[in-house]
Symmetry: D2
Subunit: 337 residues, 4 copies
C-alpha cells in the first residue's frame, strides 16, 4: 500500500501517519519527492483493508498494490478450474451449453423444450421456479412445484438442471431438486445468500450484477469460495449502459479479463444481455470465440405465450441452427461441446 501525502503536509502529520502504521504492525518507508512525499507500507496488505488510512489528515490518496481477492485468483490456483454439474464439465476446454425457458410454466411445455434443446446439443437444462420480477404484479414463478417439474424433466432427458435461488430460506428446497444454484444479477451482492450457498457443496452459477465491475464479481465469488464451496462458474450477462436499443450492454471483454486473473470458469448469457433474439446468435458465436466456457440461452417453443421474458427467447429451430455454428467455432478454439 502506498500513501501519497498532500502538497503541504506538515512534519506533525507525517509523524502521526508513521505512528499509525507502526501501531497497526506494519513497516513504513518514507520517500520525499520534489512535489510529493510518499510512504510505502510494507506487510500483509490484506490485513489493512478495514483501516481507513485515507481519513488521516494530510493524506491525499492511498493506492493499494495487491488485488483484494485471493481464493478466486490465479495466484492462488494457477490452472483453470473445472466445475462438474452432474456429469457435465464446465471449464478446462469443456463448454457448458445451458438452455431452457425463462420460467417453468408446466411439465408439458418444459418437456417439449427440453427435448428440443437436448437434441440440438444443450447439456444443462435451465428454468426458473422463483422469478425476480421488477414488478410485484408480474408472474412470480411456480415455486417448489416448478422445481419438481424441472427435476422430473431433467431426469427424463438425462440433463442436469440449474435454477435460480433468490432467498437464503430457499437454499434447502432448491438444493433438494436442482444440480446447480443460479445467483441472479440482482443478488450478486446479496451477501447472506452467497454465504448460504457457499456452505453447500453444489455448484453455483454466479451472474454479474448490472453495475458490478469484474473485480466486484470476483469478490462475490470470494464470498462463496471462502465458505468452502469451490464449485463456482461466473456468468457475464451484460451491464447497464446508456445504449437504449439493447436491454443491457454485453461486456465480452470480461471473459479474457476474468481468465487473466482468475482460475474460475466463465460463461456468457446473451439472452439477458441483449434482450433481443436477433442479436443472440452473433453474440453467442462471439462468446465462444472470446474463450467463454459456455453459453446460457433462453429457448421457448412459443415465445408469444411465455409467462416471462418471452420476447428474448430463441425458437428451438433457431437454437439448433446456432448450435451448429457454435460447434464449428468450438472446434477452431480447441474446445468440445
Amino acid at each position: 500500500m502506498i500513501i501519497v501525502l498532500r502538497p503541504h503536509s506538515t512534519p506533525e502529520q507525517i509523524e502521526h501517519i508513521l505512528e499509525r502504521i507502526k501501531e497497526l504492525g506494519f513497516k513504513a518507508h518514507l520517500s520525499k519527492g520534489e512535489l510529493r512525499t510518499i510512504i510505502g507500507v510494507i506487510g500483509d496488505e490484506n490485513k489493512l483493508h478495514a483501516e481507513p488510512l485515507s481519513a488521516i489528515p494530510g493524506v491525499e490518496q492511498v493506492l493499494p498494490i495487491l488485488k483484494p481477492f485471493k481464493l478466486s485468483s490465479r495466484e492462488f490456483h494457477a490452472d483453470d478450474s473445472v466445475v462438474r454439474v452432474g456429469k457435465v464439465r464446465i471449464g478446462g476446454g469443456a463448454l457448458g451449453m445451458i438452455a431452457g425457458p425463462c420460467a417453468i410454466e408446466s411439465y408439458e411445455i418444459l418437456d417439449t423444450i427440453a427435448g428440443q434443446v437436448k437434441a440440438a446439443g444443450a447439456n444443462i437444462l435451465r428454468g426458473g421456479a422463483f422469478k425476480p420480477r421488477t414488478s410485484p404484479y408480474s408472474f412470480q414463478g411456480l415455486g417448489e412445484e416448478g422445481l419438481k417439474i424441472l427435476r422430473a424433466v431433467g431426469d427424463k432427458h438425462g440433463m442436469p438442471v440449474v435454477t435460480e435461488v433468490m432467498d437464503p430460506r430457499q437454499v434447502d428446497v432448491v438444493q433438494r431438486h436442482a444440480d446447480m444454484f443460479q445467483i441472479g444479477a440482482r443478488n450478486m451482492q446479496n451477501f447472506d445468500l452467497l454465504k448460504e450457498v457457499g456452505q453447500t457443496r453444489k455448484p453455483v452459477l454466479l451472474k454479474r450484477g448490472m453495475s458490478a465491475t469484474v473485480k466486484d464479481l470476483l469478490m462475490s465469488a470470494e464470498y462463496i469460495l471462502s465458505e468452502g464451496n469451490l464449485q463456482v462458474v461466473l456468468c457475464e450477462r451484460g451491464v447497464r449502459s446508456f445504449e437504449d436499443s439493447t436491454r443491457n450492454m454485453l461486456d465480452l471483454s470480461a471473459v479474457p479479463n476474468v481468465k487473466g486473473q482468475s482460475h474460475l470458469p466463465i460463461i456468457v448469457d446473451p439472452s439477458h444481455a441483449t434482450g433481443r433474439p436477433d442479436l443472440i446468435p452473433a453474440m453467442s458465436r462471439a462468446a465462444v470465440a472470446a474463450g467463454a466456457d459456455g453459453v446460457h440461452i433462453e429457448v421457448h417453443s412459443c415465445p408469444e405465450k411465455a409467462l416471462s421474458d418471452g420476447p428474448q427467447a430463441l425458437l428451438p429451430g433457431q437454437y439448433a441452427a446456432l448450435m451448429q455454428d457454435l460447434r464449428k467455432l468450438a472446434d477452431v478454439m480447441g474446445k468440445e461441446i
Copy 2:
C-alpha cells in the same frame, strides 16, 4: 398500449395479432399510416404486463402508455405522504436529518457520536449492525449485539434509530430493536426482503440501487406498499458511472423527478454518493435546495479509526457547521428541521 408493426407485415400477421388481443380480453384499434400500421390496445393495461406481445411475428415495437407502478404514484395518492419514525416526521415540509457512523463499533463510540449529532440538530440516529461489505474479509458488523447498542444509545438521546437489514431472516430481530428498516442499495431488488419488510408496519428507508432507474426504484417501493406497508421513504445515494473521482454519481434530479410522479418522501445520502467528505457539505445543501425531505450523513468522531467507511465520514464539528447552513436553506425552502 400501442403496437407498431414492421414495414411489410402481412395481412395474416395482422389478423393473428388482432386475435391474440381479443383472446386476452382487450379491444384492438387498427390504424394504417403511410409507412407503418399501428394497433391501439384498449383496456386495463396493467393486466397486459405478462403478455409478451412483442414476441409475435410482425411486431416491431410495443409502446406502453401507462406507468407500471400504482400505489406509489401521484395518480393513486395526490398529496405528499408523511412518514413517521418515532416522533419524527419525514415529508410534507418536515426534514428527516439522519446521522451517525457507518457501523456500530461500541456503546462508547456511538454514544459520543449520538450526543454530537443530536446537539447539531440531527433527529434520527443511524448505525449499521449488519454490514454489506464487498469483501468477505472486511468487518461484517456486530449483529444483534450492535442492535442492542443502537437501541440503548437512541433511547438515551431521545432519537429514533434506523439500521440496515440484509436478509429476510433478520427482519424479526431488527424489528425488535429499530424504529426504521434500511434496505441498502445492493438489496433494492432483493424482492423477498422487500416483501418481508412490507409485511411489517415499521417505516422503511429504501435506497436506490447503483444501477436502478427512478422507475426501478418506484417499482421496488411498490413491492413494499403492495404488501400493506405504506411507510416508505426513498433515498437517492448515487449511481455507478464512468466518473472515477467520486465513488458514485449523485443523481439529484431524482428528487424532483420522484416528486413529480410519486407521493413518497425522498431523502439524499451524499456520503455514499460521493465517498468524499470534501464534497458532502455542498451536496447536502444542494439536496435541500432541490426539495429533498431530508439528508442522510455519516458522521464519525475519529474517521481514521472507524471499522467501516471511515474516509467518507464527516467530523462532528463539520456536521454541526453544515447543519447551520442547512437550516438557513430549509428556511428559504419553507421547510423545518
Copy 3:
C-alpha cells in the same frame, strides 16, 4: 408519430393540439382510451422532426414511430454495401484488416511495422499524423510530414493507408496523401468535419463516440451520406462505462445491431476499446465471430518507446499469431481476409 395526452387534459387542450397538427399539414387520428387519450399523427414523419409537439400543454409524451436515419438504413438500401479503399474491399464478405502504429514517428519505424503487418496479412496500413491527445502537453503528431511518410510507406508495401483527420481545414491535405479518412471517436459529432469529408469522394472510417448510441452513430454517418459520399465504414471502439479495469467497454453487440438496420460495413477496434494488449486477441476473434467486416489493431515493434499509446499495441509477433486464428474464424464465417 403518436401523442399521448396527460390524464386530465382539457377539451381545449385537445382542440389546440389537433389544430397545430392540421397547421403543420398532417392528419390527426383521435382515440380515447379508458385512462389516456392518444392522437395518431399521419403523414411524413420526417418532416415533423423540428416541431416540438411535446412542449404543447396537455401532452404527456410524443412517441416517434419511424427511425430518424434514411440513407444509412436497410430500408433505403437492402444489400450490404461494399466500400473500396484502394484495391481492398470492406464489407460483403471481405474483411478489412487495418493495422499499424498509433502515431507515425519516423519513416524507419513505420516501414518496419508495415512490413511486419503486411506479412502477417494486414491489408490496410494505419498511422496518425494529427493526434487528438487529452493533454496539450502530449505528443501531437508529425502533421503533414507524417502524412508523407505514411504515403511513401504505404506505396512501398502496396497497402492503402488510413489516417485521422481532426479539423475541417485538414481535409485537403489529408485527402492528398491518404486513401481513407478516419474520424475519431471524439469527433463523431463534429458535424462540420462530417460535412467536409462528406463532400469528398474518399472512403471514411467513422468511429463511434465514447457515449454515442448506435442510433447516434448512424445519424453521424447520415451527415456524410447526405453530402453525397456513400463510402462510409463504421467502427465500434468501445464506450465509456463504470468498469475501471479496461479503458472503455467494447460493445460488440453493436455489430449485429448495426447490420440489422443498416447496409454500411462495420469493423471493430479492440485496441482502443480495451487499452490492454492481453485482451486484444480474444476481442478480435470475437469481433470476427460476431460478423464484423474487419478489425483495426494497433501494432508497434517497440511499444515501450512509442510516442503515443504504446501500452495498448500488440507486438508484430503477437499480431501474426492472432491473424492465423482470425483466418480460421473468417473461414467458419464464410468470409475472406
Copy 4:
C-alpha cells in the same frame, strides 16, 4: 510516478526498467515488499507523460502521483478566478445568469425573450446561430445572420452575448459579433477548436462532454489556457447514463469537485442536463446551493413553436419565478446576482 512490478518479475526486467528511467533523466527508488517490488520515479512527472512505461515487460501498473493539469489547477493559482464577459463578472462571488432561446430564430422573437429574461434578472443573453444537431435534416441555425441579430438584441438590452462556435473556421466571425464563445459538449475534445479560441482573448464557456470525467474537462480547459487565453468558465451540463427518464444525468458534485482542484469558475446548465422543464427549477436551486458561479437556462416565449429544443425551455414567467428563488439562495450563499 510509482511503478508496480508483476509478482515474478526477473532481475533482468528490473534492471531494464531502472535503465529506462535513468535514460529518461529520472532517479529510481527501488523497494522490495513481501509480495511486490515497487519503483518510485523521482523527477518532474510532467515530463514523463509520453513515455509508456507500462508497456515495459514485468510492469504490472504505473501509478501517477500528480494531477496532469497545471494552469487550471489550484496549485498554480490559489484564488478563485473571476471571468469578465462585457461588464458582467462570473466567479469570486458573482453569479453569471445566462438565459435565452436554444436557437436564434428571428430578431422579434429574440428581442421579446431578451426583454423578459433581462427583466427577470438574467445578465448574459444566449442564442445559437450555429447548431450542432444530431440529424442533418434538423434546423442548423441562421449562421452569421443569427450572430448579427444576437449582437443587435444584446446591445439593445445592454446584455453581453454568448453563442456556440463549432468549427475553427467560425472563430473569426463569432469573435466579431459575440462577447463570449461557447464550446458545446460535443466539441469539448475538439482540440483544434480549443486551440483556436485559446488564441483569442475572448472569454470561453466550455461545456463538459457527455462522457467526460472532471479531469478530462480540466484537461480541455488546459488546452485553452496553454494558448494564453485565461478567460475560461466551465459548465456542467449532464453526462450520459442509463437513466432513461432524463436526457442526461446532471452531475452536480462536479461543482465542488472542480472548485477543490481548480480556480476556474463553473456554472450549471440544467436545461440540457435534464431536458425537462419540470426539473429545471429544482436543479437550478440545487446548483446555486452547491456553490455554482451561475446558471445557464433556456427560455422561450413559445416553446411549442421553437425551431430547436423547445420542449426543454422554460416559459418567461417560469424563469422569473425561479429567479426570485435563486436570489434568496444566492443571499444565503453570500453571493450576488
